[in-house]
């Protein structure tokens, strides 16, 4: 479904991504793990078109999207839930969801109902300004907003960041549910343990390079991973 081939991304003179190649097949959950600053978010931003690669190519559903602008990718089926949620804090929950449906005006009512079923807490707060929601609720809103475009591929950047453990469990349950419902997922996580538990496959990024890849369970057993990311 998604094929990233040898991309190199620079921030000014800093070489942030070095020859990254990865693949996400339809129906998979693929995790991208690694330490802070390894290039995980940069990879997602490059796929969603907020950044562009100098070399290589990105192919989505057999179409080269390397140079496509971010706003055009939403209607092609890519949704990106950014790190730090980035909900529109001064807009209501409902308006945030409407923005998620910006390119997908069809079935907007049904889609809002679906999001509310998945995240009942959002329904109770639908007229509330997003800035007044708790961190967990904002994460749910960011995910719900992304679902409004009925994406084929959903990319999530650190959905568990800064959340209490019980909420992290909830968020991961939801990711699993979304996956069961047929959404392909590319997940970036610092919480490697959780990520490897639900991922079909995973890539380990280190200083802008892919160090390891394999199935979730293989990597969870690997000594290198245990030492670096799973606390021994």
């Amino acid at each position: 479904m998604l094929k990233v081939d040898n991309i190199n991304v620079y921030y000014g003179k800093i070489h942030a991504l070095k020859d990254i190649s990865l693949e996400v097949n339809s129906g998979e959950i693929v995790a991208l793990i690694g330490a802070n600053g390894a290039g995980k978010s940069t990879t997602l931003k490059t796929i969603s078109g907020l950044l562009h690669s100098k070399t290589g190519s990105i192919t989505f559903m057999d179409e080269n999207i390397s140079h496509t602008e971010a706003y055009k990718l939403v209607s092609k089926g890519i949704a990106h839930v950014p790190e730090g949620r980035h909900v529109f804090l001064q807009m209501s929950v409902l308006e945030n969801l409407e923005m998620g449906a910006y390119t997908n005006g069809r079935n907007i009512k049904d889609n809002i109902q679906n999001v509310f079923e998945r995240f009942p807490r959002l329904k109770h707060r639908k007229n509330q300004i997003a800035g007044t929601l708790s961190g967990g609720e904002q994460q749910m809103l960011a995910m719900g907003r992304a679902l409004m475009s009925q994406p084929k591929l959903m990319m999530m950047d650190e959905p568990s960041m800064g959340l209490a453990p019980i909420l992290v469990e909830q968020i991961f349950d939801i990711i699993r549910d979304l996956h069961k419902a047929g959404t392909t997922i590319l997940l970036v996580e610092q919480n490697a343990e959780m990520a490897l538990r639900i991922a079909d496959r995973a890539y380990v990024l280190e200083s802008g390079e892919i160090k390891l890849s394999g199935t979730g369970s293989e990597l969870a057993k690997s000594d290198e991973i245990k030492k670096a990311y799973l606390g021994g």
């Binding site: 907020l50 602008e69 001064q90 390119t103 475009s149």
Partner: protein, 293 residues
């Protein structure tokens, strides 16, 4: 009676500032830049209306429409050629460019129309209203200006709260990257904002020159600066703030002119601004929402 008549004049002048301030505040909210050429778009709007009325004998309403079209195009062109290439540049570069555009417009106007003031014919042809046996007169210009300001305010609020493009504007003004990830074309949204702001500038120009009929190439610059002050005063980025700031500024200006000193009125206006900013740095209606991490 003079108090009442001063108040009305203040609200009327303030309404013009408010309409101009809306342009400043919308553009600032979305592009995070101060478009110092905005005041000069007003001047172009006034000349456009003047020329079509005087040389072509157009009906005032038609000349206003023409002026709106001219300014809208001008705003979009300025944005596309001067500001868009600097989207990723520092804010100082954009600010200096805006000042450059401002001088460019003034000097082109000077080339075309010269420095001799034109006497603008009012677009309002009603008789002034008289109250209390002629003790209080309200000019038709004042009434039309205030009404126009109210209508614009209502339309703009509905536009940003209810329409898809309006909501997209709010989304872009809050978070460009997130808006882009929703599928919103940020560049187009910024152009639309410039178009709306400049269309308002045209209306402001015509109304301003109907009340104060001397039209020169620098006509827009002082009202532009005052409207910018009004926008900051009310809380830059906030539409009701621009409105409130504009009207308060107009009232303060007229009152200082008639009760304190004509020559000191501008100084008083800016002193009030400084006071407000010392007490509430975000302006009267400005707000800061702290982000949850």
């Amino acid at each position: 009676m003079t108090f009442l008549s001063n108040l009305i004049n203040g609200i009327s002048l303030g309404s013009v500032y408010a309409i101009i301030a809306l342009g400043y505040t919308m553009v600032y909210g979305i592009a995070k830049m101060l478009n110092f050429a905005h005041g000069d778009v007003i001047m172009v709007g006034a000349y456009a209306s003047y020329c079509t009325m005087i040389y072509l004998g157009w009906h005032p309403l038609l000349s206003i429409l023409f002026s709106i079209v001219v300014c809208t195009l001008l705003g979009v062109i300025i944005e596309a050629f001067a500001y868009k290439p600097l989207r990723r540049a520092g804010s100082l570069a954009v600010l200096i460019t805006a000042i450059g555009v401002s001088y460019l417009l003034q000097n082109v106007a000077l080339l075309i129309w010269g420095s001799t003031p034109k006497v603008f014919t009012s677009v309002v042809n009603f008789e002034p209203l008289s109250f209390f046996g002629g003790k209080l007169t309200i000019t038709a210009e004042s009434i039309v200006t205030v009404l126009a300001c109210i209508v614009i305010m209502i339309c703009l609020t509905l536009f940003t709260q209810k329409t898809k493009i309006g909501k997209a504007m709010r989304a872009v003004s809050e978070d460009k990257d997130a808006a882009e990830l929703m599928g919103i074309n940020v560049n187009t949204t910024i152009s639309i904002t410039f178009a709306v702001g400049s269309a308002l500038a045209a209306v402001a120009g015509v109304l301003l020159c109907s009340s104060y009929p001397t039209l020169v190439p620098t006509t827009g610059s002082m009202p532009g600066i005052k409207a910018f002050t009004a926008a900051v005063f009310g809380g830059i980025g906030s539409i009701p703030g621009a409105m409130l700031g504009g009207i308060l500024l107009g009232i303060i200006e007229i009152f200082s002119k008639s009760y304190i000193s004509t020559s000191l009125s501008d100084a008083i206006v800016f002193a009030v601004l400084i006071l407000v900013l010392l007490i509430k740095p975000t302006g009267i209606l400005g707000k800061k929402i702290t982000e949850k991490v």
